[in-house]
């Protein structure tokens, strides 16, 4: 792992934070949207033992940003890191988003699952952005973080909150299903809580829309060494999320 300087660790809500790291040019060139990195604390502690995987939220001018939500001891430890200190990173890991995306494209993010779409939008040409829409849902208004950043891409931004405090009232999947009656997408990439992904997989069955899911589970190595982060394949056997994913064709896996 390499050391990376923490430029900023900004709390966005009580549970969500934005971590900005300084990375070298070599790493900037090596990364593609959809890939991830492992981040560990560099204070020699053994608990948490494993660096945690995070998708790249943004990568501009040697600044790599991740969006994280505090859920366990790994992210709790991340929360208290101060600007000016160092973390350890291993990157880039995993496969980029598919290269053969057919447009129009819908990106569907639930909560901080939206993170990786920032980096993707940064790298899409302005022409491609015109054929892309971002669906972004959360439980309440304050959890729809980084809205100004996502607005800057000038893609249609479709928002939903469960309590109706901003945008459509309900789940983001409800809003997408409603829109699909009038709009056509050829590809959808979704990332968010498992129930959201299951619902999308179910509702888009037979629609002819190519659905990709960006998935997560506990990873130890992130490099394909341990073979621990598996998901059953529909055709039998397993995919290894860190090596074959994290973005996979929905029809090829069992959720």
């Amino acid at each position: 792992m390499k050391k990376a300087l923490v430029i900023e660790n900004e709390p966005l809500t009580e549970r969500i934070g934005l971590l900005s790291l300084k990375v070298d040019q070599h790493l900037c060139m090596a990364f593609n949207p959809g890939q991830f990195l492992k981040i560990g604390l560099s204070d020699g502690r053994f608990d948490p033992l494993f660096p945690r995987p995070f998708t790249v939220h943004s990568l501009q001018k040697n600044t790599l940003r991740i969006l994280y939500q505090v859920v366990g001891k790994g992210t709790r430890a991340l929360r208290i890191i101060k600007a000016g200190s160092y973390v350890e990173v291993l990157a880039p890991l995993g496969q980029p988003y598919p290269k053969d995306i057919e447009f129009p494209l819908a990106l569907v993010g639930g909560g901080v699952g939206v993170a990786g779409f920032g980096f993707l939008l940064e790298r899409l040409s302005s022409q491609r952005r015109k054929e892309t829409a971002l669906y972004y849902g959360a439980s309440k208004r304050s959890d729809l973080v980084r809205l100004d950043y996502f607005k800057s891409f000038e893609v249609p931004l479709r928002l939903a909150t469960e309590d109706g405090s901003l945008g459509f009232k309900g789940y983001i999947t409800d809003l997408l299903e409603k829109d699909l009656k009038e709009r056509c997408f050829r590809t959808i990439i979704a990332c968010g809580p498992l129930p959201m992904l299951k619902r999308l997989k179910e509702s888009l069955k037979g629609s002819g829309i190519k659905l990709y899911l960006s998935l997560e589970n506990f990873m130890a190595c992130g490099t394909g060494f341990c073979m621990g982060c598996v998901l059953p394949k529909r055709s039998g056997g397993y995919v290894h999320l860190c090596k074959d994913g994290p973005t996979l064709l929905a029809e090829e896996i069992e959720l």
């Binding site: 792992m1 053994f46 130890a220 621990g228 039998g236």
Partner: protein
């Protein structure tokens, strides 16, 4: 300087443990061949079986305080595919390979050893923590008599280096003695510790697997100290090595070489970091070791 484990000669005392570098296909994405040959004395392959094994359904992993429970279920493509697709590239590294073998019966172990003899490989590590199907599924490691017969059987077809990877639970000392009298060349002490973790209550998700990581190091260090005081076979230590100090602790208490496992999963560069640290410690305290290494 060379490190001797029986008749096996290593350039460094660092061995990368089975199952902690995949099948080898992604290893060189993270380490250069130069880094590997500089720091690593030997590589132990993923556990290989006669037929492909798809492994256990998830969950296969759970982090515990300072440890990791894994239940991979020996996922591997089978020895034939391994030799065709992965082995040629690994052989080019010119780092000694130790083939970790997994059989469901004595006959399977013997067949695996024969296959390796046929390709000219000279070192194997027997994983005896697997269930012996012919003896009602009880693990080989629970019966020193069965282990004795197993090693005798494998020895008849394989003249090279045979290490036996012991389970840390069960009749460890008796099994170690059985390995010695049956003609094994070394003991790897030890495999992971049987463990159980509860991932969630609703739905109830439980993992039964093996515990590794720094949490187990004091346990394995004690085990090695006790076995090495009674057994003359060289010992390869394996258990929670995270630093050069961990390596030196094991060498001091009777190990001839040390495997690095969980640390590789944290950072693929761990073997190099640990090798740098052990070199430093050997300069300061190497005189405390008297294991016949030159």
């Amino acid at each position: 300087m060379t490190w001797k484990v029986g008749n096996l000669e290593l350039k460094t005392p660092i061995i990368i443990a089975s199952g902690t570098w995949g099948l080898g296909d992604t290893l060189l994405q993270y380490l250069t061949p130069q880094e590997l040959t500089y720091a690593v004395g030997a590589l132990v392959t993923k556990g290989l079986s006669l037929e492909p094994m798809s492994g256990n359904p998830p969950p296969r992993l759970m982090e515990t305080p300072c440890g990791l429970i894994n239940s991979i279920g020996l996922e591997n493509p089978g020895i034939k595919t391994f030799l065709e697709d992965y082995y040629p590239r690994l052989r080019e590294l010119k780092i000694p390979l130790i083939f970790n073998l997994h059989g469901n019966s004595e006959e399977e172990f013997i067949r695996l050893a024969e296959i390796l003899r046929e390709v000219g490989e000279e070192a194997i590590e027997l994983n005896i923590s697997c269930p012996n199907v012919k003896k009602g599924g009880i693990s080989f490691s629970q019966s020193p008599e069965v282990v004795f017969e197993l090693i005798r059987g494998v020895r008849k077809v394989f003249e090279g280096f045979i290490a036996v990877k012991l389970s840390p639970v069960g009749p460890v000392m008796e099994t170690a003695l059985a390995c010695e009298s049956a003609g094994a060349d070394a003991l790897t002490i030890a495999n992971t510790y049987p463990a159980l973790g509860i991932i969630s209550y609703e739905p109830l998700r439980i993992i039964r697997g093996g515990l590794s990581g720094p949490a187990i190091k004091p346990l394995t260090l004690r085990l090695i100290t006790e076995v090495s005081s009674r057994i003359k076979l060289p010992i390869i230590a394996s258990g929670g090595v995270m630093s050069g100090k961990d390596v030196f602790d094991y060498l001091l208490m009777g190990a001839s070489a040390v495997q690095i496992g969980t640390a590789n999963l944290i950072d693929p560069w761990s073997p190099i970091k640990i090798y740098e640290e052990i070199k430093e410690l050997l300069r300061s305290y190497g005189r405390l070791l008297d294991k016949g290494n030159t």
